[in-house]
């Protein structure tokens, strides 16, 4: 776990399209001038007749894909998270979700991973927007193995899928034996004193934070990888609540993202926990993603700090500090 090697998920996902295309002839790609950015050029070259590029026209890209899905194809549309979720928002909602079409929207540049491109290229509202659409499934992989298995699962899945991913490099979390299921959270590491519930890039930060907390304070923190933002795995949240301390972190706006969806489950299940929701709450100027993750407080250091704060605020927890 957590090898040194780093991976770019958009490369993993985009390049994997060729293999998916070999397996399933119904797969087509609709690009909007970002085939290179989304790394699916191999598919375009391999299957030129199954690749469309509508130019810089995201609305048309999504509607066009809905039309292809209507004829039985499984279209994968590719663009940056903000452009799919906002520029083509109504097309995603009305042409894809309302019609319950098997369109897969593949959206790199999730969160503020687009860093120095600035907020125009950040997808910080996409989970809120896409999760609110009936029929829509929302996914976010955290590592290359998971990303590939997730893409595999989209083949037999009925209904539309929005799959967001950051463009910052990530560590490997899982190995080949990893079993992936849409809607079933993965427990990366177990723990009883608290739980991080994360998706995407924050999973690796949670793993690092949990290691630090164990080392420094002797507390075991569970890391829950909530790769399926919607439909959310309620049982994994109920189980995590037994630790009484939950920190949710997502590279997304605090509002409408993973944090609030976890909170909704906690409240509706009458589960009392110390709770923190880490995410984005303001526009800031462009900067590199790691700088922004630190600024917004959901890098490894931020996660550790927040969990320790929750643990320390709880007088029932016995502290054995200073190891």
């Amino acid at each position: 776990m957590c090898g040194e090697k780093q991976y770019y998920l958009r490369n993993v996902i985009g390049e994997y399209m060729t293999q998916l295309g070999e397996k399933q002839k119904k797969i087509v790609i609709v690009n909007a001038d970002l085939a290179g950015t989304c790394r699916n050029r191999d598919f375009v070259e391999r299957f030129p007749e199954r690749a469309f590029n509508v130019g810089i026209a995201e609305q048309n890209m999504v509607s066009f894909a809905a039309g292809l899905a209507h004829e039985g194809f499984i279209p994968f549309v590719f663009s940056m998270a903000p452009f799919i979720s906002m520029r083509a928002c109504e097309q995603c909602r009305t042409d894809v979700a309302y019609a319950n079409m098997n369109v897969r929207m593949i959206a790199p540049y999730a969160g503020c991973s687009g860093g120095i491109s600035g907020a125009t290229h950040w997808g910080i509202e996409d989970c809120a927007i896409m999760s609110s659409m009936p029929n829509m499934t929302v996914l976010e992989p955290c590592d290359p193995i998971q990303a590939i298995k997730m893409m595999e699962k989209t083949l037999d899945y009925d209904g539309p899928i929005y799959l967001r991913s950051g463009v910052e490099p990530v560590n490997a979390i899982y190995d080949e034996t990893y079993h992936y299921e849409i809607g079933k959270a993965s427990i990366v590491s177990d723990g009883n004193d608290g739980a991080f519930i994360c998706s995407g890039i924050t999973v690796q930060y949670a793993v690092q934070a949990a290691i630090q907390i164990a080392r420094r304070y002797g507390k075991t923190i569970r890391v829950v990888d909530m790769h399926t933002i919607k439909p959310i795995d309620r049982q994994a949240i109920i189980d995590a609540a037994r630790t009484a301390h939950i920190v949710v972190a997502q590279d997304h706006s605090k509002i409408g993202g993973l944090g609030q969806q976890v909170a909704e489950v906690l409240v509706s299940e009458s589960l009392q926990v110390k709770f923190a929701n880490l995410g984005i709450d303001k526009f800031v100027a462009m900067a590199h993603a790691p700088y922004l993750y630190h600024l917004f407080g959901y890098d490894a250091e931020g996660l550790e700090k927040e969990m320790v704060k929750l643990l320390q605020a709880d007088t029932t927890v016995h502290w054995d500090v200073g190891r």
Partner: protein
């Protein structure tokens, strides 16, 4: 199939009478229903390959109502080819649990190929369908998409217009119901469309134009459509009159949508019937 001009004009009269009956019960988008009534009659009752008993048949023509608010005129035409009874539409239109939505919805009406309502969506979806047909090797079906003229203001229309030419979607037939009025008034007083035919031509479309309230002209236009194997999409620009056939409704912005009084209903129906009889005599 209805094929003589007289039969088609009679069919269009029946569609209008049904629309007016519905409009005497509740408010509908009557202006745009009436303007496009002749186009829809010729399309559904003469032109399109569509078997209501086999609605998923691969060889069927696909119909997309991009101006989704013209759902009533569509539903009545579907009734005329045997999808259901016209009385069902009158009873169930825009009612709780009814099959006929104010904007075409296939959750309740399986004969609706694509749910629509928000403008500027149906056209690009139709492009995707047309591309899908070609990719599947279906070179016999056409995709017909009916748009409003106000809808031409949507940017997505022109994204699709470029795209259809690029992908050589000759199996796509776009129809523009050019009645000149939108909800807020004359298009020319909002943001004028300019020369719409010239615009489509400039985008690379094959353009046909006719009086969209003239059944004989419409039939002739449909008869001369290029084969679905053509490589150029066709747009049929139909010059129509909003509220066509009912003199107090014609070219009146306020009749974009509305409900008829009993008196208005009776006067409208007798005017339409009289017009038909003047032309064709009493059956």
């Amino acid at each position: 199939m209805v094929s003589t001009i007289k039969e088609l004009e009679k069919a269009a009269l029946e569609i209008r009478k049904n629309l007016l009956k519905l409009c005497s019960i509740q408010s509908i988008h009557i202006g745009g229903d009436l303007s496009v009534a002749d186009v829809m009659t010729v399309l559904w009752q003469y032109q399109m390959k569509y078997d209501p008993s086999d609605i998923h048949a691969e060889e069927r023509d696909r119909f997309v109502l991009s101006k989704g608010h013209a759902s009533a005129v569509t539903s009545f035409n579907q009734a005329m080819i045997g999808c259901f009874d016209a009385d069902d539409v009158i009873k169930e239109y825009a009612t709780d649990g009814g099959r006929f939505s104010m904007h075409s919805c296939n959750l309740v009406n399986p004969y609706v190929e694509v749910s629509t309502g928000s403008l500027g969506h149906g056209f690009p979806i139709a492009c995707g369908i047309a591309a899908g047909l070609k990719l599947k090797g279906n070179f016999q079906s056409r995709v017909y998409v009916v748009m409003g003229d106000g809808e031409q203001s949507e940017g997505s229309i022109w994204e699709a217009a470029m795209n259809a030419v690029h992908y050589k979607l000759g199996n796509l037939i776009a129809i523009v119901d050019l009645n000149g009025l939108e909800a807020d008034g004359p298009i020319s007083e909002l943001t004028g469309l300019g020369d719409i035919a010239q615009k489509y031509r400039a985008f690379g479309w094959s353009v046909q134009e006719c009086d969209g309230n003239n059944i004989a002209e419409l039939k002739a236009q449909f008869d001369r459509l290029p084969a679905p194997t053509s490589e150029t999409p066709t747009v049929l620009i139909c010059h129509t009159v909003k509220g066509k056939g009912v003199s107090f409704m014609e070219n009146q912005t306020k009749w974009h949508a509305g409900k008829l009084t009993q008196e208005q209903y009776e006067s409208a129906v007798s005017e339409l019937t009289r017009e038909f009889q003047n032309k064709w005599g009493i059956d």
